[in-house]
């Protein structure tokens, strides 16, 4: 039995999600120990349990120790069954975390699948469904398969009530390299508001427009219908190879301009780094390349998340992944 140390590196839910995904991909069981050891609330939380349930559902797997606070979990996957799945998670974690868990095995499945998740779709602690749709999945599709997220209803924390559906058509995956960023062909910004005054969105966009010299055509206010209040701003930078997205969340008692500055700072860091793959994308993208069996990309200094994900991938898959600093602050990750 493969044993994963859940307290390694970043030591959070990422180790668990990657392990679940790759166990389902390989059909091999694993035991994860010391889950989130040393955290204030150690062990499995609700948001982790929904991922375990989803992984078990699509792979006909069995999970022992899937309880709140459990420090050890043993997961034995069965055969991955493509098809229609629906999970209701409430506001425990985020829909995108569940979708990220089931995406790798379903990309390798024998047929198309459709996975709906109801609950939170936009949570500051996870990638948004818009990020999956606008940044991550287009890259996945370049590997060969066809995957798409439809956001039927937004679900903001704390009210939830959203619904996102991931449609996957598997195909052979052909790796490619993302070594140069190329020039940014377009920068645009989107501000979402739900049950809040639209002026918040306008103020955020005005701040982004000033920072990047955007025209009105490149900024969009979206007033969306959702059970609760919510405000999300993101900046999209489109290049030849990749569309990177930088997201920030409106918060009570934080001015709209400040919310905008957070996204602007992240975008500027990425632009200054002159690498195609930003830090958030890097740790998810390496998993896709590992599934494809090759490829490389250039990114900034590796985050703890990236390193942790690499070590979990190496545990499950027979791939070699190298990580090297090619220039100061610019690194190349190569999968072979």
């Amino acid at each position: 039995m493969r044993i994963i140390d859940g307290s390694l590196g970043e030591g959070g839910g990422q180790i668990l999600r990657t392990s679940l995904a790759l166990a389902a991909v390989t059909g091999e069981p694993f035991r994860i120990e010391r889950i989130r050891a040393g955290r204030k609330k150690p062990g499995l939380l609700r948001q982790h349990l929904v991922c375990v349930e989803a992984a078990a559902a699509i792979s006909g797997g069995l999970a022992a120790g899937a309880e709140l606070g459990s420090l050890t979990l043993e997961f034995t996957p069965g055969a991955v069954k493509p098809g229609r799945y629906s999970f209701s998670i409430g506001t425990a974690g985020s829909a995108s975390l569940v979708l990220q868990t089931v995406l790798p095995p379903l990309l390798r499945a024998s047929g198309p699948s459709e996975v709906s998740v109801e609950g939170g779709t936009h949570n500051s602690m996870a990638p948004t469904a818009d990020y999956l749709a606008g940044c991550f999945l287009p890259l996945v599709n370049r590997l060969g398969p066809h995957a798409r997220v439809d956001l039927e209803r937004h679900g903001f924390y704390p009210a939830g009530g959203g619904r996102a559906t991931l449609a996957i058509e598997p195909a052979a995956m052909t790796p490619f390299d993302l070594l140069t960023r190329g020039s940014i062909t377009r920068t645009r910004a989107v501000a979402l508001v739900s049950n809040l005054p639209a002026t918040i969105a306008h103020r955020e966009l005005r701040t982004v427009q000033t920072a990047f010299g955007l025209g009105r055509d490149d900024s969009e206010v979206r007033e969306v219908r959702s059970p609760g209040p919510g405000n999300v701003l993101w900046i999209e930078c489109v290049t030849g190879g990749v569309t990177e997205m930088f997201t920030s969340f409106g918060e009570k008692q934080v001015r709209a301009e400040e919310v905008a500055q957070r996204a602007i700072a992240e975008a500027k860091d990425w632009i200054a780094a002159d690498v195609p793959v930003g830090p958030h994308l890097a740790d998810q993208w390496v998993l896709m390349l590992a599934l494809a069996g090759g490829g490389s990309f250039r990114t900034g200094a590796p985050t703890e998340h990236l390193r942790t994900n690499l070590s979990v991938i190496r545990e499950f898959l027979d791939v070699s992944i190298s990580l090297g600093e090619v220039e100061e602050g610019r690194w190349v990750v190569t999968v072979s």
């Binding site: 609330k41 939380l45 609700r46 948001q47 709140l68 606070g69 209701s88 998670i89 409430g90 506001t91 425990a92 974690g93 109801e118 609950g119 500051s124 924390y157 704390p158 009210a159 939830g160 009530g161 739900s194 049950n195 059970p227 609760g228 209040p229 918060e251 009570k252 008692q253």
Partner: protein
């Protein structure tokens, strides 16, 4: 989860309600808590708002099933009504603690409801733990806030349990005058007394031979009650054997001026003096029948008539009675009232004799030494050899300790006073040993006659068949054997002088052979 719908905090409408903290909703928003079922108690008027809350709970926590219970308090601030209503809910609810874990949410509802929920949980009508919620702190992005689970089983809290243990240890230490006694039976007895006097105001009866420490224990019980603020009054001690005639009544219950010859002025009497405190009546078996009747009435009603008084006097006191006699035997002889005995022997404790607590002699020796120093301002100490010699004697069957701690205390005090330069020597111990043994040998000291001793081990026919010579010797041997811990112990005591002159020193075997001549074994002496 069982909780009351909070008509103020839980009720909110419009999208902005999500910006507010709602306690019942927050329970279903925690990342480390899954509420499978939420039994939500509400009144008829809240029906619609409860349905709205249910919908919100479903949105944030699809794993939670909300079950509404319409309960209407006639008066949500009336204790009796709220308690009754919640009690009815608790007793009719099909709890299954083997399979389910219950939490009672006490943050919502009126304060009266919260108190009732607490009481019903504490009394295990709700076999649950309490749960308290609080709103998110300023700047916290997590909207669920905090929750705390309070388990009313206080033994689960290490620090609280440690504090209780210490309190109990302190209390038993007070009762033992700080002496680290080792006798398990005695220590158990003290723990029981500590438990009883902690919760009951009923009379306590201390039984035991003269000098076993009844009087001292009574005083220590008073100190304990005083330290816990359970008594306000005085400790009043009286030996009933000293009461005679008219003055007996007067001493106990008081009198008014002129009630009898010599009653020059009012006298309060011991019962009144002990009001709010502790009255210790030692040798209660010696109390006259008239006084017994008065005492019984005073215990039952808290009132009594002083001698010659027209009006009753009130006094609330904790009675501790002491006796070295078998009170039920006195009842049989008509010398003690049965109803009074029934009243005072609810909590009866038998103090063991010093002979039965040989392992406590050493800690008591140290206690007496420090007491001596405290009383006289002079320190006295035993040389190592003297201490060993004294303890060896004190724990041997030769030491009868006829008057128990009184003898021990007296012996130590004498040795200390006679010690040159405050040093008790082997010679001093030897002199005291001879003094004690001779005092215990005096006629009349022996509690039982030779006849009684032999009757306890042999049949009348068997005794009749013995010469007086053998009867006298056997009675002495049996008496020593009976207070010895083992056959070897008894042998050592009986053959102490000759053993130094013999090459073989199997005293036990010698004793066994002697007893066998009368058809007696070691067990025969112990069993009866």
């Amino acid at each position: 989860m069982i909780g009351i719908f909070g008509t103020v905090l839980d009720a909110a409408e419009g999208p902005r309600r999500w910006e507010r903290w709602r306690p019942s909703l927050s329970l279903c928003q925690h990342d480390d808590l899954i509420v499978s079922r939420f039994e939500l108690l509400h009144d008829a008027r809240s029906q619609r708002r409860v349905e709205a809350l249910e919908k919100d709970i479903r949105s944030v926590s699809p794993q939670t099933t909300v079950v509404g219970h319409q309960i209407d308090f006639a008066d949500a601030w009336g204790f009796e009504n709220v308690f009754e209503t919640l009690h009815k809910f608790a007793t009719s609810y099909p709890f299954d603690p083997e399979r389910e874990d219950y939490l009672v949410h006490i943050t919502t509802g009126t304060h009266v409801a919260q108190i009732c929920l607490f009481l019903l949980t504490e009394s295990r009508h709700f076999p649950a733990r309490l749960l308290q919620t609080s709103p998110p702190r300023r700047g916290q992005t997590d909207r669920a806030g905090q929750y705390d689970i309070i388990d009313l089983d206080l033994s689960r809290y290490d620090r609280i349990a440690a504090r209780f243990d210490k309190e109990r240890a302190d209390a038993t230490s007070i009762l033992k005058s700080g002496i680290a006694t080792r006798n398990a039976a005695f220590n158990h007895l003290i723990e029981n007394i500590e438990k009883v006097v902690g919760v009951s105001r009923a009379p306590v009866l201390l039984m035991g031979p003269t000098g076993a420490g009844k009087s001292q224990l009574a005083a220590r019980i008073f100190s304990l009650l005083k330290s816990r603020h359970q008594v306000k009054g005085e400790f009043v001690e009286l030996n009933c054997a000293t009461l005679r005639g008219d003055s007996a009544m007067s001493t106990l219950f008081g009198h008014v001026k002129g009630s009898f010859t010599g009653a020059m002025k009012d006298r309060a009497g011991h019962l009144k003096t002990a009001d709010g405190g502790v009255l210790f009546l030692d040798e209660i078996g010696e109390l006259g029948l008239d006084e017994q009747a008065m005492l019984l009435r005073a215990l039952e009603t808290g009132r009594f008539f002083p001698l010659g008084a027209d009006h009753e006097v009130e006094s609330e006191f904790q009675l501790i009675a002491g006796t070295n006699r078998d009170l039920s035997e006195l009842v049989a002889q008509g010398r003690f009232r049965e109803d009074l005995l029934a009243r005072i022997d609810l909590w009866a404790f038998k103090l063991p004799s010093l002979r039965e607590r040989r392992e406590d002699i050493e800690p008591n020796l140290d206690y007496e030494l420090s007491e001596f120093a405290r009383r006289t301002g002079r320190r006295a100490a035993f040389s190592r050899e003297a201490r060993e010699a004294f303890l060896a004697f004190a724990q041997s069957p030769e030491a009868v300790w006829a008057r128990n701690f009184r003898d021990l205390s007296g012996a130590i005090t004498r040795m200390c006073i006679e010690a040159d330069g405050g040093r008790v020597t082997v010679a001093g111990v030897e002199a005291e040993r001879r003094r004690l043994v001779s005092a215990w040998r005096q006629p009349g000291r022996s509690a039982k006659s030779n006849e009684e001793i032999l009757n306890s081990v042999l049949s009348t026919e068997a005794i009749a068949g013995l010469d007086l010579f053998d009867r006298l010797q056997l009675a002495g041997v049996v008496e020593v054997a009976k207070r010895s811990r083992s056959l070897s112990d008894a042998g050592r005591a009986l053959f102490a002088s000759s053993r130094t002159r013999r090459s073989s020193t199997n005293d036990a075997d010698r004793l066994r052979k002697y007893l066998a001549r009368f058809g007696l074994g070691w067990d025969d002496l112990r069993a009866r």
